[in-house]
């Protein structure tokens, strides 16, 4: 479904379904782009509401991590995604799907680093 959604956006509008880039453009009010970007984000929330209605267990309201980790994690995810030019959807699905070396390397790095962090936190925190 994620693949179909990203593929449909590409074929129907020529746009890339990278969520961090979409949030970025929507925040900046990027001219000519922000309308579809805001609409995509509204669609994400609408999809979330659909899940809340039919499949509430799919949505998470809590986390295994305590608040300082949550805040630090959110900040790093947002900042890192924009600095590196992509997140899980932009590099991981659309980048790799188009044969982008940048997307492949970016994805390999964030999965490897994420795994290392999870290991370190489980061992020492």
């Amino acid at each position: 479904m994620i693949g179909s959604a990203a593929a449909a956006l590409l074929v129907l509008t020529g746009k890339t379904a990278g969520v961090s880039g979409i949030v970025d453009g929507a925040l900046r009010g990027e001219s000519g782009e922000w309308r579809w970007k805001v609409a995509f984000l509204a669609g994400l929330v609408a999809g979330g509401l659909l899940l809340a209605w039919r499949m509430p267990a799919a949505l998470a309201e809590t986390s295994p991590r305590s608040m300082p980790w949550v805040i630090a994690g959110g900040l790093l995810v947002g900042f890192g995604a924009r600095l590196g030019g992509g997140c899980t959807s932009g590099h991981g699905v659309c980048g790799i799907g188009r044969g982008s070396l940048r997307g492949l390397v970016g994805t390999a790095i964030f999965i490897a680093v994420g795994a290392l962090v999870v290991f370190l936190l489980r061992t020492f925190a």
């Binding site: 479904m1 994620i2 693949g3 990203a6 956006l9 590409l10 074929v11 129907l12 509008t13 020529g14 969520v19 961090s20 949030v23 970025d24 309308r35 609409a39 669609g43 994400l44 929330v45 999809g47 979330g48 899940l51 499949m55 799919a58 949505l59 998470a60 309201e61 986390s63 295994p64 991590r65 980790w69 949550v70 994690g73 959110g74 900040l75 790093l76 995810v77 890192g80 995604a81 924009r82 600095l83 590196g84 030019g85 899980t88 699905v93 799907g97 188009r98 982008s100 940048r102 390397v105 970016g106 790095i109 964030f110 680093v113 994420g114 795994a115 290392l116 962090v117 999870v118 290991f119």
Partner: protein, 137 residues
């Protein structure tokens, strides 16, 4: 039309995230726990999504999309410090919280202290990235 399509794609994308388990930080952290009780099921997200996307891109690249701009031909092959540092910071954050940008937005549908905090922190992180000069970026 483009706006309506983007909205519909957003819905489909969110439902896909929900069904796969990407909206649950505990599950995402389990996927990242390579050295412990590794839960590989989220690999299915990439295994499922990439081939569909690849096929669509291969078929349409360089052509006009149906209601919008050209479908991009090339994808970036550039490897630079920005990518390495950015993806590393993203990985650290992802390992801390277990939420990436798509789920952070989708979880707005289930407002809680946790989901609001992640989203607010992520938006702040994105806004901070605006301060990095484009030359360095």
């Amino acid at each position: 039309m483009k706006t309506a399509i983007a909205f519909a794609c957003g819905i489909l994308f969110a439902v896909g995230l929900g069904i796969s388990g990407m909206l649950q930080p505990a599950k995402v952290l389990g996927f990242l726990d390579f050295f412990g009780a590794w839960d590989p099921t989220l690999l299915g997200v990439m295994v499922g999504a990439i081939p569909i996307y690849m096929l669509a891109w291969w078929r349409w690249r360089g052509r006009p999309s149906i209601w919008g701009s050209l479908v991009p031909t090339k994808a970036s092959q550039v490897l630079d410090a920005r990518l390495v540092i950015g993806a590393s910071l993203f990985g650290i954050g992802w390992g801390f919280v277990g939420v990436c940008p798509g789920p952070a937005v989708t979880n707005l549908a289930a407002p809680s202290v946790f989901t609001m905090s992640v989203l607010a922190a992520m938006l702040a992180g994105i806004a901070l990235s605006f301060l990095v000069p484009a030359r360095v970026k």
